[in-house]
Amino acid sequence: MENLFFNTTYSSMQDTLLKIAVFLLIAGLFIWLIHLVFSKLLFRKNKQRKEVHLRLAFLWAITGCILLFNSYVLILLYRNGLDNLQWTSVQFYLGILPQLVTYTALIVFFFMRRSAFKKIIHQPSIL
């Protein structure tokens, strides 16, 4: 497990792809979990439509997930030691590719959902 989350050494593309899949799966799991909690706790007194609350809660869930991922990255850097990281080596970047992909995916996903949410709010539509 430690190898999966804190090892920054590139071994093979197959491992990297597997790690990306695991990271995305875990991120998704976290988002769902936080969304589940937020959907019960946030905006309970808001008079907006339920769907609006849930979409807003979902954005907060992604934000929460990004925060958690940031915390994980901090721990990752701490455990490996900043001085030991080969910032100029391609191998290093291939080693942290799952983290980079997950991070980027979370941010892109956030803005995609945000954009959809804004559309719902601002467009004069009842559908």
């Binding site: 769902w32 969304h35 589940l36 959907s39 439509r49 339920k50 769907e51 849930l54 809660a57 004069p124 539509s125 009842i126 559908l127």
Partner: protein, 801 residues
């Protein structure tokens, strides 16, 4: 005990005189008449009505209709043995308004009946009613039945008065068997500068005097079969005493300039009689009659020195009323918390969407419950049923069936059948909004703009609804509903266990949209009603106001200030009132000398207004007139009634009352003023010694005839008479008979001198001119059918030849 009195006005002049009597009484006592006095007027012209005082009108009208004269004549020919005085049908048809100056037509009005009723019976009933009321009051007050006195007042120049005055005398005696006295006070035309053009007036008056002379002769008999079947057969004069007055003076002093002035003096005379001089007069008249010093004809001179407190109050009240109406109808400004502000349509428009949202919300909320069932709860249950899979068939179709317009057992049908509830809520909401605007600003324009802005906001809301695909058409709704139903099945949020809440919410949203779709039609009706007023719409407690309502209110309110000439000339406006008061004050031919502490009517009015503003604030408010009453309700009510008249009276009454409460015009001691400057006062008192009639015979003062000064305090009257004596004027004696105290008669001293012992048919200085007008057809009449016989018939109403 005050004598119960009935004053009966006949014809238009009778009405105008009664109005003056009522006015004098109101000015002095604050009420229109004492309880034991009744005013009646009998009129053939339907458009003539009494105006009343600020506290209303106590003159009872008896309309004797002359509609369908030919039928009336035919009827009397059959029922009364074809009396010879009846006008011929062709003559009657050309009479025009009222009796048309034809005496026989006036008499026909009293005797006849038509589709409006039986005139004769109506007059009898009115007199019986008045008799019953005046005697009942006196019974209550003293437990002793008082015999009533009756005054009949009118002019002898027209058709009505000159036609019925003799019948009225005998009829009144017949109805009131225990009558104390029956007096006639009849107005004659003044000495003509030229008779041309006035032949009817003078001819009628001559004919009337001639007829009266006939019945005053004990050798002659009044013998008629009345329309009620009673054969009246009586020897003796119709009246104890008939007094004639005209705009002339016997001693060459200029005549009263207007007929209005003569009505005023006749009104003052009648007022003084009901106020208390009647008993004093009667004591003297009984002696005079016993000594044959008065005869059957009399006249009088009357003059007064007055501080016109009432006129000042009325004029200032009219000014204040105009100020208030100007506030109501100001299109640019309004007052809020005593501060003047600009009416800004932008400000009104800014706040209106939020207000309309609240109104719509309240209407939509009202639709959530149908016959006690909460539809929202029911929808929630349906959502849970759907999520649990307890429904048959497809979810989308099931949702569509819940809200589709094609079914009559779903939410659509329930709400549609209940849509009136929302309409009521919308109407009440809009009404309240407009009402609040009016109540807060007291500006009709502000309220109108509020209503206008509401309609604009409804229009904008419609546009928005249209933009999101909503309309009132059922087909459109069903199409939209399908999309909404499909949307319900997407993204159900089951993963976060919120599918029930989401579906409930989505179904409720569909329900809200359905309510909007169903409300578009009633809201369109509301908008059309406000703008065009084609449909009448009422909410639970209010009728929806229209823009036209405010336009009407503004227009009519402006009209009673005299800003436009849309009101009929007979309608009273504040400007007309002010002009009439000013005209009356400025009329120097009237034998009433107006005196003031400041020597100026204008200054007194300004002083009164300044005092009012100082004590009552500088901004006028409707609360001064209607108290805590709702302004919109009040104005709408007045609009349903006789707006200009009701508003006029309410405003005037309110401001007059407030002026009295704030004591804006203080009483003025007229007697002291006379003592200080007796010159003008003596000249006015001298005018009272000359009667209002130009006779060739010198009517010498006689101790047996009433001649006295009346005022509020007997000592002050004595002071006045002493002052006069010092100035060598001894027209009125400082004796018990020469003075009459009427404690409530503040601000005025009246000089009264009664004359008698003359015969108008011989002594009236211009009787020969009247006789000529009576006997000869004028040249160049428009109607070529009028020959000498017909002319004379028109001037005659009784068979006295």
């Amino acid at each position: 005990m005050a004598t119960p009195t009935i004053i009966i006005g006949i014809g238009t002049s009778g009405l105008y005189t009664l109005k003056q009597t009522q006015r004098f009484y109101y000015e002095t006592y604050g009420t229109n008449k004492p309880n034991n006095v009744e005013y009646l007027y009998i009129e053939t012209n339907e458009s003539n009505r009494s105006g009343g005082t600020p506290i209303g009108d106590d003159i009872r009208r008896v309309y004797v209709s002359l509609d369908n004269m030919a039928k009336m004549i035919e009827d009397l020919q059959n029922s009364c043995g074809n009396p010879p005085w009846l006008p011929d049908k062709s003559m009657a048809l050309s009479a025009g308004l009222g009796a048309g100056g034809i005496r026989a037509c006036g008499r026909l009005a009293l005797w006849g009946r038509n589709q409006h009723g039986n005139n004769f019976t109506n007059v009898i009933k009115a007199i019986e009613g008045a008799y019953s009321r005046v005697t009942n009051v006196s019974n209550n007050e003293t437990d002793q039945k008082g015999k009533p006195s009756v005054f009949v007042v009118g002019s002898l120049t027209g058709g009505t008065g000159a036609g019925i005055f003799i019948d009225m005398g005998y009829l009144i005696r017949h109805i009131i068997s225990d009558i104390k006295d029956l007096y006639g006070l009849f107005l004659l035309p003044k000495e003509p500068a030229a008779i041309r053009g006035n032949e009817v007036k003078y001819g009628n008056a001559y004919g009337a005097i001639k007829d009266l002379k006939y019945y005053n002769n004990m050798m002659n008999k009044y013998e008629e079969k009345w329309p009620n079947g009673f054969n009246k057969d009586e020897v003796g004069p119709p009246y104890e005493l008939v007094q004639f007055i005209s705009q002339d003076y016997s001693n060459g002093i200029p005549a009263i300039s207007s007929l209005g002035g003569l009505y005023k003096m006749a009104g003052l005379y009648l007022f003084l009689n009901i106020a208390g001089i009647y008993e004093k007069r009667r004591e003297r008249l009984v002696d005079a009659a016993g000594n044959s010093l008065i005869g059957k004809y009399g006249t009088f001179g009357l003059a007064a020195i007055q501080f016109p407190k009432d006129q000042i109050q009325e004029l200032v009240a009219a000014q204040l009323s105009i100020n208030l109406i100007e506030r109501l109808t100001d299109s640019n400004q309004y007052y809020l918390n005593g501060k003047q502000r600009q009416i800004s349509r932008a400000v009104i428009q800014k706040s209106m969407p939020e207000v309309l949202d609240q109104i719509l919300e309240s209407g939509f909320e009202a639709l959530n419950v149908v016959e006690g069932d909460d539809l929202l709860l029911s929808i929630d249950k349906d959502a849970i049923k759907i999520n649990k899979g307890e429904i048959k068939g497809d979810v989308v179709e099931y949702i569509i069936s819940m809200f589709a317009s094609t079914r009559n057992d779903n939410y659509h049908a329930l709400v549609n059948n209940n849509i009136r509830v929302a309409l009521n809520a919308f109407i009440d909401g809009i009404y309240e909004q407009v009402d609040n605007s009016l109540q807060n600003t007291e500006s009709l324009y502000y309220a109108k703009y509020t209503l206008e802005t509401i309609t604009e906001s409804i229009g904008r809301t419609f546009k928005y609804w249209k933009s999101i695909g909503l309309s009132s058409k059922p087909q459109n709704w069903d199409n939209t509903l399908r999309q909404l139903a499909i949307n319900c099945t997407k993204k159900t949020y089951k993963t976060v266990l919120e599918h029930d809440a989401v579906l409930k919410d989505r179904l409720r949203t569909i329900f809200s949209l359905m309510k909007i779709h169903l409300s578009i039609k009633p809201l369109t009706d509301i908008r059309n009603h406000i703008k065009e007023g084609r449909i009448r719409l009422e909410g639970n407690s209010h009728e929806l106001p229209k823009l036209q309502l405010f336009d009407d209110l503004i227009q009519q309110a402006n009209a009673i200030t005299g800003k436009n000439d849309e009101l009929e000339s007979s309608t009273t406006t504040f400007t007309r009132t002010m002009n009439n008061i000013q005209g009356d004050i400025d009329d120097i031919t009237l034998p009433i000398l107006r005196v003031y502490p400041s020597n100026s009517f204008t200054t007194e009015c300004q002083k009164a207004k300044d005092t009012f503003v100082q004590k009552g604030g500088h901004v006028r408010s409707m609360s001064e007139v209607i108290g805590r009453q709702n302004m919109l309700t009040y104005l709408k009510q007045q609009l349903k009634n006789n707006f200009d008249n009701e508003l006029y009276l309410d405003f005037l009454k309110a401001f007059r009352l407030k002026m009295s409460t704030l004591n804006c015009v203080e009483d003025f001691n007229v007697a002291k003023h006379i003592s200080r400057s007796p010159g003008d006062s003596i000249s006015i008192a001298q005018r009272a010694t000359s009667p209002f009639l130009k006779v060739n015979k010198i009517l010498e003062p006689n101790d047996s005839l009433p001649r006295f000064v009346t005022g509020s305090n007997i000592n002050e009257i004595s002071e006045v008479l002493k002052t006069f004596d010092k100035q060598n004027f001894r027209g009125f004696e400082d004796s018990v008979d020469g003075k009459k105290e009427l404690p409530d008669l503040k601000n005025i001293i009246v000089f009264y001198d009664e004359k008698g012992n003359f015969n108008p048919i011989e002594d009236l200085s211009y009787i020969h001119l009247m006789k000529g007008a009576y006997e000869n057809v004028p040249d160049g009449l428009a109607d070529p059918n009028i020959n000498s016989k017909r002319w004379k018939n028109n001037r005659s109403a009784y068979t006295t030849n």
